[in-house]
Amino acid sequence: MADMAETTETGGRTEAHSAMASSIRLGFLLVGLAALAVAPAFLYPVFLMKLLCFALFACAFNLLIGYTGLLSFGHAAFFGGAAYFTAHAVKEWHWTPELGVLFGVFGAAVLGLVIGFFAIRRQGIYFAMITLALSQMFYFFCLQAEFTKGEDGIQGVPRGHLFGLVDLSVSTNMYYFTLAVFVIGLLIIWRFVNSPFGMILKSIRENEQRAVSLGYSVQYYKLGAFVMSAALAGLAGGVKALVFQFATLTDVTWQMSGEVILMTLLGGIGTLIGPVFGAGLVVTLQNYLATSDFPVTIVTGVVFMACVLLFRRGVVGEFYASRLGRRLGFEHRR
């Protein structure tokens, strides 16, 4: 281990460098967490909770595109679907909120398994089209089905008591519950990406043919990532249903699938925290525009175009790839 700090034959990347990058990352993370912990004292909690839900949603989506290169255009089905499942379980079956959310996650995972099963054999635009088509089918199912209450959606969902103890109708309690779910979600993603399974996913993205020739059934690995991504999107959707106390068709529309792509692209594909920034940007923008006369879609469209032109790698990706980011030991390839 004497060569730990020595420069490798490329001259650039050393272990000391990436150690620095990970401590910087950890520092940012702690600051971010601290900021989120005290945020409700300064900002409207519902806005913050919305932000956290969408940030988790975007991170879940990024798990798929960033680590397997699959662009899904149907993730609203998992997000909005889970919102319905959670809302139904909590309102009609009187389940506790944590069980309701888990039910949403489970439902989203099953949906992910079905949609993923059909889509995974295809690549690129075909994959995107199949996910879009199947999620649209799910949209029409939600429109017609009994339990989703059609155009009205499921309204008046009680937040209930967490583990039967903590009253989530108290806004701060709900906020910290949401924050905890968000942090757990990120930890799961982080573990998933940095696991033996994640290593195989990475190798498939790097060179699929080679992975096949080493005996890996790449479809199963991709399907695994798809289901995990769907389940985590469901986690975000389930919590969102509790936050807003309703589940409606809005969250299963194709526009919602598009929005999460936007968030992820803005923040930076393939970076762990990029999508959090992207989601923050989009949600904040929508919040401000909602009270102004500007048409929201046009402005987000313009911002999106500007960002794509200026920051091709997304905000965070662009930072990693910048001279400063590289000097600090971050790596970004794409």
Partner: protein, 247 residues
């Protein structure tokens, strides 16, 4: 005989890239597949490893008919190939490249809940393989940053990590310097002691030195077969392969 093909054929549209190829690959032998550019050598590899499905013919691996099998299953049965254009995982380190190959046979491929340090168990074996191809000091270098020749030997190391029964190497020495060629030739000779090797190679000196059996392919058909001496003295081979009677 571990791998054999009978009447193998592949059509692309109305072009016969491979037709009626019979091939027998034996244990503990190095078998060369040679022929001019576009002869169909890589296509034969793709057919044998099931990256392409043959339009006609059958393939048998270790007594099992694999004609309809998926490529990853064929690999799991012990038929592992390398690619003509070097196939490494460019943004993984040398060590990780080899570990990825080791993960599946060691049951460490599907754990999504365990940390990456779970893979440290594979380091010992990985380091053996890495040192066998002389890459020890580049262990932590990213594959993309290796020289071309070193990428090729890394690919051989990852292939060997699977301990395959049959090794298919598509031009393993293309683009290498003289010294590296000798090293790789030694490695191939060595690994062929207890497994079968089928290799595509343009360097006839290497073929003469390390191959026990040679099959010459031309326009998708077998032109000649036998040991190097027999084949190299065949006038049809001289015309077809070297474009001249002498060489």
């Amino acid at each position: 005989m571990v791998l054999s093909a009978r009447g193998l054929g592949m059509r692309f549209g109305d072009f016969n890239a491979v037709s009626n190829v019979d091939l027998d690959v034996h244990h503990a032998r190095v078998h060369a597949l040679i022929g001019p550019n576009g002869a169909g050598k890589t296509t034969v590899f793709n057919l044998l490893t099931k990256f392409l499905t043959p339009t006609s013919g059958t393939i048998t691996l270790l007594g099992t008919d694999i004609t309809g099998m998926a490529p990853d299953r064929v690999a799991r049965m012990g038929l592992v190939r390398s690619f003509q254009i070097s196939a490494v995982f460019p943004h993984l380190s040398v060590l990780d490249n080899v570990r990825v190959a080791l993960q599946r046979p060691n049951g460490l491929a599907t754990q999504f809940w365990r940390p990456l340090s779970a893979l440290d168990r594979l380091n010992e074996r990985a380091d053996q393989l890495i040192s066998a191809v002389g890459l020890s000091e580049a262990r932590n270098v990213m594959a993309a940053d290796l020289s071309y020749g070193r990428k090729r030997v890394l690919e051989i190391a990852t292939t060997l990590a699977l301990d395959p029964k049959v090794l298919l190497l598509d031009e393993p020495m293309a683009g290498m310097g003289g010294e590296d060629v000798a090293v790789v030739a030694g490695i191939i000779r060595n690994v062929a002691r207890d497994r079968a090797v089928l290799m595509v190679e343009h360097n006839l000196k290497v073929v003469a030195d390390i191959c026990d059996h040679v099959t010459v392919l031309q326009r998708g058909e077998i032109l000649a077969e036998g040991d190097y001496r027999t084949v190299s003295e065949d006038p049809r081979v001289r015309v077809a392969y070297m474009g001249t009677e002498e060489a």
